[in-house]
């Protein structure tokens, strides 16, 4: 779990990403909030939402013409979720360099690395979407066919069980692909590799060589993330009184912060695997290229 130390040393990245995540979500919820407050603030009927969660009251609020269309609430949230994703894409190269460094990189250097690698990351994203899309698409197709066939049997549980098994398999495969591309991104940044297909190949090589440990780490962290999410929601339900808005805010945000940290842990794990590979002696001596490009900031 070398990644854990890296994350601990670089907690500031998680904090910054979390604050961005919160800010964007808050911004995205502004329209929803305005619509809800307009209906609820002066009505005693809204107590049904405060001292519990009365589904009828909630449904009636959504159905009121003055609340507006559901798209009016969900579209800004969706747009800002996409914006958070783009910001993550932009800043991730800097984070990876930070994770690989034994010192705190400067803001200027962070910015330079981010802009320097943006186009490469976009190309890597395209590679990822194509490969993950094809693989998971095929798997979802197989799963759908199997579940449909199971649906024709008289065993009612079978389709649901197969659905769950299928999702578990797809999750494992998608996690493996994610780990592969995390390594590819790491290679792109740390090796300053302009040809992303070489990074994709390198990532695949490293992932294949370490696939049991790497996938084990990734899956363990993902399961920890799921446990945090479920545990956080259960805790929210168990200890926060329904009318405590602040208490709900605190525990929900703590849950989301830890969830975000889990993804950064996976990232750090990929960097650790990558660095370990660099530390290993080369199998045979090759004449070194005269102009090997090395990023100045990385300490090996």
């Amino acid at each position: 779990m070398a990644g854990a130390n890296i994350v601990r040393r670089n907690l500031r990245y998680i904090i910054w990403f979390y604050l961005l995540n919160l800010l964007f979500a808050w911004w995205g919820a502004a329209g929803f909030g305005a619509q809800a407050h307009r209906i609820l603030d002066r009505s005693l009927y809204a107590d049904g939402l405060l001292h519990g969660m009365d589904i009828a009251v909630l449904g009636e609020m959504f159905a009121r013409p003055e609340f507006g269309s559901p798209a009016g609430s969900s579209a800004p949230a969706t747009r800002l979720a996409v914006l958070f994703f783009l910001i993550s894409l932009l800043f991730m190269p800097g984070v990876l360099v930070g994770y690989a460094s034994d010192h705190r990189i400067s803001r200027e250097e962070f910015s330079r690395i981010c802009t320097h690698n943006l186009w490469r990351f976009l190309r890597l994203l395209c590679f990822f979407v194509i490969i993950a899309g094809i693989v998971t698409g095929i798997l979802f197709g197989i799963q759908g066919g199997v579940v449909k066939a199971a649906d024709q049997t008289s065993n009612e549980r079978l389709p649901d069980i197969l659905q769950l098994v299928g999702l578990a398999i797809i999750f494992m495969v998608a996690t493996a692909i994610r780990a592969w591309f995390d390594l590819a991104q790491t290679d792109t940044v740390l090796d300053d590799q302009p040809a992303v297909r070489k990074s994709v190949a390198a990532g695949f090589r490293i992932a294949r060589q370490n696939w049991v440990r790497l996938l084990g780490n990734y899956v363990a962290i993902a399961l920890a993330a799921a446990a945090i999410l479920v545990g956080g929601i259960l805790l929210w339900h168990a200890i926060v009184p329904p009318s405590s808005v602040f208490g709900a805010f605190l525990i929900s945000q703590l849950t989301l912060f830890l969830l975000l940290a889990m993804r950064f842990w996976q990232r750090a794990t990929a960097v650790a695997f990558y660095m370990r590979r660099l530390a290993e002696p080369a199998p045979e001596v090759q004449p070194a290229p005269a102009t090997a490009a090395q990023p100045a900031s990385i300490s090996r």
């Binding site: 979500a25 009927y45 009828a56 949230a77 994703f85 993550s88």
Partner: protein, 664 residues
Amino acid sequence: MGLKRGLLICVLVSLGVISCLAQSSTRASSAPNTSIPNTTSAINSPTPLSQRVVHYEIDARYDPKTHALDAYETLTYHNFTGQPLDSFPFHLYLNAFQPTATWVREGKRQATRGQTFDKWDPKNYGADEIKSFEVVGQGDLTSQLQFVHPDDDNQEDRTVVQVRLPQPIPPDGEVQFKIRFHDQFPEVLMRTGWDRDFVLGGQWFPKVGVWWHGAWNCHQFHAMTEFFADFGVYDVKLTVPQFEVVAASGIKVSDVKNADGTETVAYHGDDIHDFAWTASPHYRVYEDTFQSSMGPVKLIFLMQPAHSGQLQRHVRLLKGAMDRYDRWYGPYPYKTFTMVDPDPGSQAYGMEYPTFVTSGTSWILPPGEREVPEFTVEHEFGHQYWYGMVATNEFEDPWMDEGINSYNDVKVMDSIFGPNAFFDQWGATASMRQLMRTEYIPVADFDPLTRMGWQFANFNSYVAINFGKTASVLLTLEGIIGEDTLRQAFRTYFMRYRFTHPSKEDFLKTVEEVSGKDLRWYFNQAVYGTEVLDYEVQKVSCFPVNWYKDDQHEKKGETEYVSDAWIHRKENFIFPVEVEIKFDNGEKVRERWDGQDRWVRFEYQKRAKVVSAEIDPDHKIYLDRNNFNNSYTVEPNTAPGSKLVNYWVFVTQFFAQFLSWWLV
């Protein structure tokens, strides 16, 4: 002595003859000369409970491979109409499942019950084909059969067939029809048909119409309508493969294994007006008993294998509902009640037939989720009263079975589970009464309750008005006449009209009679009209009496204020309302407004400021379209909105993280 003895014998013989004649005459006047059996083996009563108009004897053989059935039906009809009858209409409901039938056309137009019919699937095909039709004493009239289309003149619809008899049937006379027919069941549609190796046989045999209000009542099968039939006796034999587990309406009277690998199961039903059956090799059968005030009722549960763990949820709810109906309204008189848990995922769930219903559930359900099985079980059992015994016309008055039943769903479920009867899980709650109200709100101004079933604006309106609005109308009526009075009215209505076909006015007049109130002002708007009810607290204001003085310093408890509350009737439903005004010294004032004008202002001069005003503070009105504007607080309370915003932020953050987790 001999003469005296002879005289005595003559007198005794004469008295005997007179007595016999008198008894015979009494029988003739009280019980008609009928061949319809007076059996009572299927009911907890020594005498028949209904005027038995029909006797169906059906011998049917079902082939699960082709999902088809061949049968021979003998129908004896007793003419109680008081006039000669020379024509008889018959329902052939399964013919509705054909592409040109009215049922499919209407379904395609408005996606009834989730059926969009984007593309015709041959598995949807159903048919009820009469092979031969003989009238005893009048010959074979197969060639005389004519399809009729009383509702929409769709010449392609074959759901009603009519026969004209050469010789009319006199009043109090009988006629016997011998019908050979072939059924093709569809993959389950409208709660009849097959799914995998399961079959539910509903509306599967030629069924005669009802002579009602001086005419035949035999509507085509519409996408949104249900059924209507006369009471009588059913004797049905079903022959199926021996591996099938069978259940049906009424009581099982025999089960014979045949040499060809089939078995013939015979059922008998008294005082019922329909007969349904089911077969599947997978059912697990459980039995229990309920002690009704008329005698023991055998409860039969046919469960799917994966649902056996939910048996107790079914049993608890069913017994609870039977207990409450028995105490509140009257006894369940039949000796059996069969509850079928149909094939999962089929459209066979949630259907009522006399003494036989389908429910439906899932193998994994949290305990606080009660739409299935609890609500469904309760609702379908309720139909034994509001449809089964009080046999209203479901074509023309669907609110009288579905709506009255929905109101009673609220009462029974609340009685068993408390206020959050529909859903109570993970901190979220839903009450039955608010569920009914929110169902009706979106279509509040579309259709009156009294619309014929197939004439509703659309399927949403049909469901929302018949179920949701009727329940809301009756819950609001509770607030007008009192819960106990309405319960007494329902008891009177049930006991008076059970085993008959009452009309809407029979029900409304019973409520007026029991309550001793003229309720036409309410019924005209809520039942016959489409008036919408929406009252609002338009504004609440407050200012110091001496506002104009420069040295005015407000002090709580000393400064005198003028407080006003404006109440506005936004829509056209006129309803007297109570309004509660609260002041900052804790004082509450209740006002009553008749709602006749469009608005009213209540003004107070007190050493206290108004804090809030609320219409209907006891929450007795369930027809109000907007509950949010029923109150107004001077100081806003942002907590409920902030709580929702927090949820929304959480969901948005999570979504953003999820997206980035996988893509970056």
